[in-house]
Structures are given as structure tokens and as C-alpha cells.
Symmetry: C2
Subunit: 477 residues, 2 copies
């Protein structure tokens, strides 16, 4: 996190704009994974290292993700540990853990050693317990203990997002002590965020926060106890993502200290780590709502794994669909007598499904903005019913007109128009309220709203069209 790491470029004109040199232009070949594969198989670590470091980070990720798993591991073990650690940081998490798992524990430990503490915890957390333990045993004891502790936290609580790299001093230290310490440990501290230091008693209890730039303006003999902000705000290590998002929305901090239940300082949580988890959560909601469950899918994963995961979700869906089909089967005779109904069934089920999805999206959005509480189901329901009545009436009228034009029977128009009106209201009611219910009872609103909604609106739409038609059968045939 430091401009100090800037690669200084010799040519000033070149260094003033990234947009002048699009990343893809810098790649050595158009298909960098082929060259990477060749070099990995040739097994010359130096050439490999030079080639990889010559690629943009996008091409690194792209090329590495395209390799066969074993080749990917051999590229990593061929690189310097710090280069390999940087590469790991650019890979999707699922691939990063797999790649580490295929290395020898010593090679893996050398790379893990170079990762920042929060990434260590993420990678180790994605491995099996045995694999993680083998790597931890090859690490220095202190570091292994710290990593074990960090990876024991869930990914979505403060402890799982914090880093342990932080400046930590005692209240008795003077400004001169701090400067001497920073000079002595320059190498260790180069990867730290040095904007704030945290002041702890010798027992580890957090007592103050010190903005480092303030040290510019004070005498070198001043004690930290007199300079620090006392009783700083902190979050508990078990605070969850939702609350952390609220916290950083209410407070314009770049980071906040994380303490355990006894007030001991455990790490620092940066605003950025929270935004990162927030983005991940939004992406994961999107994937789940589209039926990619059981973890992210990449097309470089084994075919059988991809097919099986998608199929597990499709199988549940087909069961729900059989229910909807059952409604049609029940009304087969009506349908056979008035075959024109079959033309309108898919319009009615699809349009209601679309209206329902709109209501789901608005509920998800309002929940994530904190503009609705999960308990306010009546409010949401009424707001949706109002829109549903207007849109249902407009769409119903349109479909009724279509039916009359198509078939010449006004009663057919009445049946399909009325069915679409009612089913639109049903769909937006379910779509609006179900995410709140899910949230209230601790389920993930994204995963269940979609398919559940579609099938229920299908079933209800079929029932309405065919039920109404059965009632009016004498007018329709």
C-alpha cells in the first residue's frame, strides 16, 4: 500500500498515462498461456520468472488460470516466493487455494510466508485441515500461530477481514523512540499501513490511536500517551459484515482497530477490506440468483464438476416445474376444448415472472441500502400491489385485445386479461415480500427468491387461466 513501490519509468511521457498504453498491448503474445505452458514444461525457472514478470497482471491471471492445475503449481514453484505470492493474489480464490494445495508444504509455506496476514488466512481457510496444517508446520512458529488464529474466523466477520500488520507502541514511548523503531524496522514496516499507530498497554489492551502525521508537528521528547487519541472507537472481532458496512458509512475512517471481548488489540480492519467483502457479497448474490450455487464457476474447472454443480440446482428446479405442469395436466380437457388458451399460457406465466423479478430486485436493493426493514412486509406489500394493479391492468388489457384479435372471442379476452391482471398482483406481492421474509428468518434472499417465484407464478398463472376458462367453458367453445 505504498507509492514507494512504484516502478520508476525512465520515459516521462510514457509514465503519465496508463490509458495510453492499454494493458493488452504490453503482452508478449496474444495467447500468453501457451508460452507460459511451454516455459513451465521446459522447467527453466529464470526464463519463466522473466516471462511472468513481463506480463501485465491481467495477462498473468488470465494465462495462469488457463493452465492445467499441475502446470500451474509448477509455474508457482519455479518463481521466487514473493513473485509467486503476488501472482496468487491475482488468481480467483478457488484457483489460488487449489494451486497452493498442489505444492510441497515447504514450497507452499515459502509463498504463504510472503502473503499479507489476511490473504494467508483466506488461502489457508480454503484448504483442507490437513493441507493447511502441513503448511503451517513449515512456517515459523509465531507466524503459524497468528495464521491459525486468523483463519479460525469466518470470512465475513471483522476478525476474518482484518490484518495483523500494524504499528503498535506503548504509551510510555516518545516520538524519538518511535522514529528510531521505524528506522530500525524499515524493512518489516515497508508493507504496513503506517498512517496510524495503535497504542497498547503491555498486556495488549488498546488505549489509543496515533495519527502518524501528527508526529511531524511535535517535539521528539513528547510521550505517545499525551499525543494519542484516547478511548478510540474499535470494533469487536466478531462484528459481522452488515454492521461493519454501517460502521464505515457512519464514520469517515480509513481503518478501525479490532479488539476481542476483553479489549485486547487483535488487528486493524481497513475500509477497503470491508468494501472488498461487500463487492464479493454482491457478486455472489448475482451468481446465486442466476443458479450458480455451491461456489464460483470458472470455465477452466473440470467439466464434470461444472456439469454436476449446475445440475444439482437444475434438478431442484425441475421438481418445482413438475408442480406447475401438474396444473396443466389437471385442466387438460379444458385446454383441449379451447386450444387457443395454450397460445396464451406462456405469455401469462412469463410476463408475471418478469413483474415478480422486478419486485424482487427492488426489495433486494432497498434491503441493501437499509431503506426497508425486514419486518415492514405490509408496507412493501401495499407498495407492490399498487404498482401491480396498474401494470397488471395495462398488460391484461393488451393481452385481452390480442386474444380477441387472434380468436374473435371476447370471453377468451376476458379470461386471459383477468388472469394476467390477478397473476401480476400475485407475482409482485410474492416478489416484494419473499426477500424480506428470507432475510428475517436468516436465509439468503438471493438464492431462493428467483426459482421459487417463477414456479409459483407459473403455477398460479396456469391455474388462473385454465380455472377461469373452465368456469366460462360454455362461452369459449
Amino acid at each position: 500500500m505504498d507509492h514507494l513501490n512504484v516502478t520508476k519509468t525512465a520515459d516521462t511521457s510514457d509514465s503519465t498515462s496508463v490509458s495510453d498504453r492499454p494493458v493488452s498491448d504490453r503482452s508478449v503474445s496474444d495467447r500468453p498461456w501457451e508460452e507460459l505452458e511451454r516455459l513451465a514444461e521446459a522447467g527453466d525457472p529464470q526464463q519463466l520468472g522473466e516471462y511472468v514478470s513481463g506480463l501485465s497482471s491481467c495477462d498473468q491471471a488470465l494465462a495462469l488460470s488457463r493452465l492445467d492445475e499441475r502446470l500451474r503449481a509448477s509455474v508457482l514453484s519455479g518463481l521466487d516466493a514473493d513473485d509467486a505470492a503476488e501472482l496468487i493474489g491475482h488468481l480467483p480464490e478457488s484457483q489460488a487455494a487449489r494451486a497452493i494445495a498442489l505444492l510441497t508444504p515447504d514450497d507452499a509455506a515459502a509463498i504463504v510466508h510472503e502473503l499479507p496476514s489476511d490473504e494467508q488466512a483466506d488461502v489457508l481457510g480454503d484448504l483442507s485441515t490437513d493441507q493447511a496444517e502441513a503448511i503451517l508446520e513449515a512456517l515459523p512458529v509465531d507466524e503459524a500461530d497468528a495464521a491459525r488464529q486468523l483463519s479460525s474466523y469466518d470470512d465475513n466477520v471483522a476478525g476474518g477481514m482484518m490484518v495483523t500488520e500494524m504499528l503498535r507502541f506503548t504509551p510510555e514511548m516518545t516520538v524519538a523512540d518511535v522514529i528510531a523503531e521505524l528506522n530500525a524496522g524499515a524493512e518489516i514496516y515497508s508493507d504496513f499501513d503506517v498512517r496510524y499507530a495503535y497504542v497498547c498497554e503491555t498486556d495488549g489492551k488498546l488505549v489509543g490511536v496515533l495519527p502518524m502525521q501528527n508526529l511531524l508537528f511535535v517535539k521528539r521528547a513528547a510521550k505517545l500517551a499525551d499525543l494519542m487519541i484516547q478511548n478510540p472507537l474499535a470494533v469487536s472481532d466478531t462484528t459481522e459484515l452488515d454492521e461493519l458496512i454501517d460502521f464505515f458509512e457512519s464514520h469517515a475512517f480509513v481503518g478501525v482497530p479490532v479488539v476481542d471481548e476483553t479489549g485486547l488489540l487483535k488487528g486493524v480492519l481497513h475500509r477497503e477490506a470491508v468494501s472488498y467483502e461487500e463487492t464479493r457479497a454482491a457478486e455472489s448474490d448475482y451468481l446465486k440468483s442466476q443458479g450458480i450455487v455451491g461456489g464460483e464457476e470458472l470455465r477452466s474447472m473440470p467439466l464434470w464438476l461444472r456439469a454436476r454443480r449446475r445440475l444439482s440446482w437444475l434438478s431442484i428446479n425441475i421438481l418445482l416445474n413438475i408442480g406447475a405442469a401438474g396444473v396443466i395436466a389437471y385442466f387438460q380437457d379444458t385446454l383441449q376444448s379451447v386450444i387457443a388458451l395454450a397460445v396464451f399460457l406462456p405469455i401469462i406465466s412469463d410476463m408475471s415472472g418478469c413483474s415478480g423479478n422486478q419486485a424482487v430486485a427492488v426489495s433486494m436493493r432497498e434491503l441493501s441500502l437499509g431503506l426497508v426493514r425486514p419486518s415492514e412486509m405490509m408496507r412493501v406489500w401495499w407498495k407492490e400491489v399498487s404498482v401491480g394493479m396498474i401494470n397488471g391492468a395495462v398488460l391484461g388489457l393488451l393481452v385481452a385485445l390480442l386474444a380477441v384479435v387472434f380468436d374473435g372471442n371476447y370471453y377468451l379476452g376476458l379470461v386471459v386479461g383477468l388472469a394476467l391482471l390477478i397473476n401480476t398482483i400475485v407475482a409482485v406481492s410474492i416478489g416484494g415480500v419473499v426477500p424480506l421474509l428470507m432475510k428475517r428468518f436468516g436465509f439468503d434472499p438471493a438464492v431462493a427468491s428467483g426459482p421459487l417465484l417463477t414456479t409459483v407464478t407459473d403455477m398460479c398463472g396456469f391455474f388462473l387461466v385454465l380455472g377461469l376458462a373452465t368456469m366460462l367453458l360454455s362461452k369459449l367453445v
Copy 2:
């Protein structure tokens, strides 16, 4: 962005953990908007201010968003400008701009004056040109010019995300000059990010970056020219979001200077601003994929606006649906002869739609991770066809069995099973490839993949089932 703003709390135990005091417990009432409405109507600015500042930021946003537009404006004009500016920052953007628009230009300008430069630009950009000009004229001339320039940028380029609040010095200045300047301007600089200073020639050309903490370790007579990082990386003000995301992925910077085409320093772009826009883009993709287009919908918006916006998208969809229904109409006679087909039509269209959506989600994800290039359509297509053949075969067999059990006719099983197999392959092909095509030709992949996909797979599914059935009609009746 500063721990210095921490509200110090008297009670240490209370201040060490936000999780011990959930935000909702601190609210004065369970329905804070009612109290807010009462106070806004009573018109006592002091009471109003006290009540608002006593609410958590979540409750502030919730309560304010529930008010009628005019009352919302009167709450804002009743508050101190800096409190009002903070509130504006917590509101959804659409409401923030509307609320500002309803104030007098002088009241609005007082609030806009307190916003950071990037938020100024966002709010002014959301107003009509006349409204924005009226407010700009009530601002100090310098600030108005800067705001005009910032709001001329698109939201999703570097210039639209940067802030102009930054430390800016010349290379001839000494460390002592800098410290004197910081002390003299302490009030102005309190809202700045002071981790880095930017060094410019007198003509405004960026020549260096200076990590402020380095000043701790050097003599006060040293010149910035000798301390700064020369030829620093910078981005052009027109660089787009995708490239900025790549930039911050490749470089562990907290911020990067933004320059125009002549190398003049225009502002600083923080990593956080890029993450924020990235999250917004993901959220907007989600909304669009669910049929909420034309901007975010909140249930506090006027009913007619909500109904009209949703309806405009539904109307396009109904046209597409009529196409699919046309296929059924064309095959009416076949359907009437083999009415059992009607039971299986929705299963086949819905299941293919689900498979297609999974493929869309994986393509969107791989595009956003940079793991696939928009030109690699053949690769994606083949990867999808492989999964489609497996899943289509499994689902097709399942549906075929169902049909045989339901109807006792093996040919019916053959027709629906084969149709589902083929249609699954069609659906995953379209679902996988369309987002790449959209991206390649500069369309938004999120908005068009969903409905287009569903309707094409519906149409194709109906055609396959009914077409195959027509061919085998003699075996089916």
C-alpha cells in the same frame, strides 16, 4: 478520512465495541420518520438538528427517505449546512439530487459547499443544467469553476471519480516550508488525505509524489525535489472504470494522481472511489438483469413513476413473448391432437431458460475477472456445449421418463426428451456467448442477456417440441 474526527466517548467499555450496541437500539423511536415529520412541520431548526444528530446514520437515511419530498427539503434547510451535507451523503443518489433541487439556490449552495469535491460533482451532475447553474452562481467563483470542471466528466472515468482536495507543493519547497504550510492551513487540510503530497512545477505539471511519513526521517532544510518519487505513475482523466480497476489490481497504491493530456495535475483518484464505482456497477448490473432499468427504483418514489418505468421494460418483453406464442399458434393442430404436449411445454422452456441463465452468469463473472476476452467466443461456446450436452442429456432423460409414465407413449418421451436436450445446448450456447458479443460491440451485457435469452429459448423450445411432434404425429395420437 481521519481518526481525528472520532467522537471520544466518556465510557471506555462502551467505546471498544460497536457490536455491543446495535445501531437500531440507539434510535429514539421505532418509526423515526414520524417524529422527523412532526419536527419538520413544527419548524424548530434547533430541535430538528438535535433529533437528527441523535439518530444513527442508518436511521437518518431511512427516516429522511420516507419523508415527502418537500418535507425532506425543509429538514435539510433547517439543519446546519455541514450536518445537511453529511445527511446528503447518506441518501441514495436519486433522492439526494431531488432534495437539493427543491431548496433555494442559496441554501443548496451552502450545503454543496460542504460536500467533498467528488460528491459535489455527482450531485450537480444529477441536476438539470439550470438548477446546477443557479447553485454554482451562489458558490464562491473558484469553487464553482472547479465544480463545473469536475461535473463535466462522466461518472465512470477517472476525472469523474477523483477529488481535488490534495496536498500540492512545488519542488523548490523545503520540509520546513511544508510543515509551516500544513500548520497554517490546518483547518483546510483537516478533510484532506494527507498521506501523499503531489509536487508540481509552477505551470501545474506533475513532477513527483511525496509520501508524507518520509518527512519524519529527514532534515527540515531538505528540498522536496530531492525527496520526492520522480516520474510517478499517473492516470489520464479520461481513463475508464475497467482500466482503473485493472490499474489498482496491478498496483498496491492507495491513490494515484490524475493528469490531463498535457500532464497537468487535475486531482487524486483514491482506490476507494474505484471500489465504490465497481460496487455500484455490479449493483446496477443486477437491477438491469432483473428488469429494473432507467435508474434505481425506491418504493418511496411516486407510484406513477415506478409503474411507468417497470412497464416500459415489460412492454418490450411482451412483444418478444408474442413471438414465442406465435410458434404455439402455428402448431395449434398438433397440440390439439396431442394435448399431453401442453403439459411439457412450460417444463422445457423454463428448464432451458434456467440453464441459459447459468451460462450468462458464468460469462459475466469471467468477463469481470478478466479471465475471458470478448473475442474468445469459440472457446466459451465449446465449454458451454460440453456442459450443455451432459446436463441436457440428464434432464432430457428425466423428462422423457416423466412423459412415458404420464402418458404411456414412448414417442412422447422421445419428443420431449430430445427437445430438452437440444434446447439446453441452444440455451447455454446463447447464454455463454451473448454477453461476450454485447461486451465486444459496446453494449451493456447485463441488460440484454436475460429477456433476450429467455424469449429465444422459449421460442426455440416450443418449436422443437411441436416440430418434432408434428413429424412423429402418427406415432403420438
